[in-house]
Symmetry: D2
Subunit: 342 residues, 4 copies
């Protein structure tokens, strides 16, 4: 059985494990103030080409998102997300448990558009009962999105303009940022220029776990570590998070392994395309969502694990196939062969 | 200028004010444990024909709704509402500030249907990532609805069946319950049989303020008063709330004044209909929502106040005209005349 | 039976009821934007001798306190209160339900002292684990206090200096402000100069209900009404709150009736003193706390209602006797007589 | 420089790292439903000698505590802790951010006593304003405590009896459980019998990170995984947590390494004792708290790192010295020597 159901089926890239092994008995202070964290922060600032980047390491993505919301909003404010956004779809109500409403703007290919955000805010402004509405304060986007699509640089710039116009924060969830970088024209440097806060995903991009929150807006930096502690997100052995990102940002590992994963995903996409299998969405990244018949599912299930993704309105079902840094090329060979035989 | 913009433009029905005057210097204990509250509770239990009804008085509707949510749900649970539900539309994120997500099921004429709630819960059950979803626990309906429509007894019974099937609580927001009673086949006795909790609205139905929360489900009664206190909803001079409902439930005042308000609303509806003015929705209660041209609005604005309600997708706008216990028949005469002249 | 157990046993001062009667059928807009509220605001600004005072009316004290906390603090911040403060003692966890810790500094006669607040903040600053501590951000005091004592102007000025030194907000709970004004050298004008936010109590000072929140610090004014709405504290018929304060601040009613209540309380205090009854505390305001034997309690209980206040460490018990605007002088005569006979 | 400042200065025990290395490329499902987690759960159930133990793995201690509070309490309920309890002292207000008050009962040697908890609850019961108080629902204890002391089996049994008497949950924070087991008569089996919920600490006891939450009370098990997800505590690569505990509970590693750490701590204690250095508390576990003069601190600071713990009321200061599974015996030799030379 070969697993394609997600991009977190294995441990970490071997170079990270090696680094953990090597540094295991070194004694450091706790809570992310050790030298490994410091070195990782410097590497991230270098990748961002930005001295102003304030980096704190968190353990996981839902945690990162709820903490970003707590940092950015006052109690009566809400976060704009598209309907497929992770914050509204798959976090068990984490944002609401933090006290905030997720304000839904229908997405296009899993993405918010500047036009729709602007229209939403304008309708808020002109609502005669505005004082009784949740005040939009923050725009949440994910790169790559939950369904594998990516924002172009122009699209993010347009969102930034809308945010500037209305005094909104722009926050980017980079759980799968490496794959998006491999498939789009947006760099970490761009994000550092355009976002108030964003995170660079580790868990799904080669690390054991860990997300690097990058805060660009100065007014969001104060007390951020106390907030992390309060939400149970401050790792005692914080060094471990530093080590993950030290590994990922050494010799461009972060970018190289994502590139390879996307290449393999493209092979899978091509195989489905050649077989005439319809895709839920045209995804250029490591997640692919074919719409399969029960028979096709049966044929593939003996040798491959993949995930039931969505029941479509017309009764059909889409499934998720993921590649990752750990995807075995021979495994993809077999999958491609099996798809051809469908 | 005659105000039709809402149903809370005046003070209280004169008999309530008289009762307040009369009892003003009587000394009572505080926090709703006085004799007036006790007598009002008994009258409500009588109206409900139900000895099991546990009644506590609250000050306002948003307060009532957020407290009901806090009483009924655990942190990972959410409340199902239709898209026009007050809890999601006009309470400034009160439910989210209480920690819970409002789960939207598209409404039909401002109402949830049993079928759609069932379909929603079934899709929750079959979702492979169910553990990462907010668990639906409570169904929120309002009677009359935010756009003036009413649930029939059969519709509420059908919702109750779905709730029973899936272990959901049924909660009814009765901010405008009196008007709904005047326009539907649903009685307070029915609600006492079918709902786990509901409130009988006072503020918009003849009282100065106040909502009577009626708890039928025994597991929701314990500690409810501490919850009220915690949310800042326990009135020190709780007697005032008792007095409101004592007045409303004496000699059927609650029902009589609503009947008259609905009668006047029907005159307004008829006037718009005769003029060929399209209505946003066919409302049998005290709120009417004509779709008016800017010219029509201009023509009516000199003498009448009414509320811009909604920007329609096609660019037109709907407006709200309300009647209430306090509506002056001569005022309606003038409005009807003015509509005829449009 | 004459009730001395609290200061909210009756309705409202007759002039307020008259005002309500008189304005009952006037039509106004809702939510506190009507002319009565506007006039009341102006009267309060005049009493504060301060054009910068931003006034919003709330229904009750717990509500006022939790909303002040939500307005003043970020999620990782806490409010300093003395151990007898209402926010920690008798609000059912309202502040914690709003997400904030109440940081206890032991009081002196029910009051915080500038020295102790300073010492507390200094110990926070020098704590090596400061990042893991709740950050103090707000100082909560009540005037008069929960045990009837009052802050002098010098004491509040000293607290203000400490707040300025450490960037803390100063918030004053004025549930019983009128009685404190009658018994101290602190005026509303002083509070407007010294506090970031404070409220002028209505419920316990002659109104049916209602508290006037006065915001002096500009950074706390934005969006305050949305916060009120969110917490269920925005009265639909907001005019009622305006009318209460219109009544209270006309012809110095607020100050006159409190003066009379304090005079009567002093008679009760004197009676206990002359009888050699020890008091829990030396209170110059309308609340008196004699320490009574069970026999004494028995002797007084037939004709008077008063409240068991506190079990003392030595096994004795203190009781609360309150006067108010509504206290009947003949009733006090009888009580004084009964005390003399103990 | 040798670090004694805490017990999380190094990575993980080598056998755990080896296990991580060995299993790194194995493909598993996510979120803690993999075979390693299953095997670790079985080992913990075996250690508890209890089939009813429901085990879920969390990342850290503050997270574990806040989730336990969210699982055990309704909004108006609070958790009893002694004044030195981690939940009130060093979690940045995590419990309050979850909506609950920490109810302080003064500790004896860092521990709650059954008598004091009973007295507290009795005073709650007899308070005439009980409805306005936070309802105590949960008792929080830590083993070993924040200052190194341990509860005896008799003490925990006595607490259990009080909890049973008043309907309270008993929750035990086992961040340093292994060291307590080495120094007390309480076993994991005992905790499984006596607690409603407790966690077995990994982070400070040999693992990279991770805490094993053990739920014994059936009513607390439902939906616990959704709660974990909501609080951002569900690790995508959940296997990593399973692997930590698989390592710790194989061949009694958990108990062996703690025993050795405590032995070394006793050497340090003895050295201080022999030198006449007063200890803050008599701790039988891996944390020792000598009260040192500035001169003594200076003498030890060149070669050893240790933590300023507390400013004592008399102006003196206590410091923390910790040992752990990773403590080097030669390092302790040097420290003991240095102490002797003070």
């Amino acid at each position: 059985m070969i697993l394609f159901n997600n991009d977190y089926s294995e441990g970490a890239h071997e170079s990270i494990l090696a680094l953990m092994q090597e540094t295991n008995m070194a004694q450091t202070v706790g809570y992310g103030e050790d030298e490994y964290c410091e070195r990782a922060r410097k590497l991230i600032m270098k990748a961002a080409e930005n001295e102003n980047a304030y980096v704190q390491f968190l353990v996981g993505g839902t945690q990162a998102n709820l903490i970003a919301c707590a940092a950015m909003m006052r109690p009566w404010q809400g976060v704009i997300s598209c309907d497929t956004g992770h914050v509204t779809a798959h976090e068990g109500g984490a944002i609401e448990a933090t006290g905030h409403k997720v304000l839904i703007v229908p997405g296009v290919d899993g993405k918010l558009t500047a036009e729709r955000v602007e229209a939403y805010y304008e309708s808020y402004l002109r609502d005669p009962a505005r004082e009784h509405l949740v005040q939009p304060k923050m725009v949440y986007i994910s790169q790559s999105t939950e369904i594998g699509t990516v924002y172009s640089l122009a699209e993010i710039k347009a969102l930034r303009e809308v945010c500037d116009k209305y005094g909104l924060y722009l926050y980017l969830d980079g759980a799968r940022l490496s794959y998006a970088i491999a498939a789009s024209d947006v760099t970490i440097k761009d994000l550092a220029e355009l976002c108030d806060m964003f995170y660079i995903g580790g868990t799904k991009c080669g690390a054991l776990f860990g997300e690097a929150m990058v805060i660009m807006n100065d007014e969001l930096k104060d007390d951020f570590r106390t907030l992390i502690k309060q939400r149970g997100a401050m790792l005692a052995k914080g060094r471990l998070l530093g080590i993950q990102f030290l590994g990922l940002f050494t010799d461009d590992l972060y970018f190289r392994i994502a590139k390879q994963a996307v290449d393999q995903a493209m092979r899978i996409r091509k195989a489905f395309n050649e077989k005439g299998v319809e895709m839920l969405i045209d995804s250029p990244t490591n997640q692919q969502f074919p719409i399969l018949s029960d028979e096709q599912v049966k044929a593939l299930s003996d040798d491959f694990m993949f995930q039931l993704w969505e029941y479509l309105p017309d009764g059909r079902k889409s499934y998720r196939f993921c590649t990752s840094w750990a995807t075995d090329i021979q495994g993809v060979d077999k999958l491609v062969e099996a798809i051809a035989k469908l």
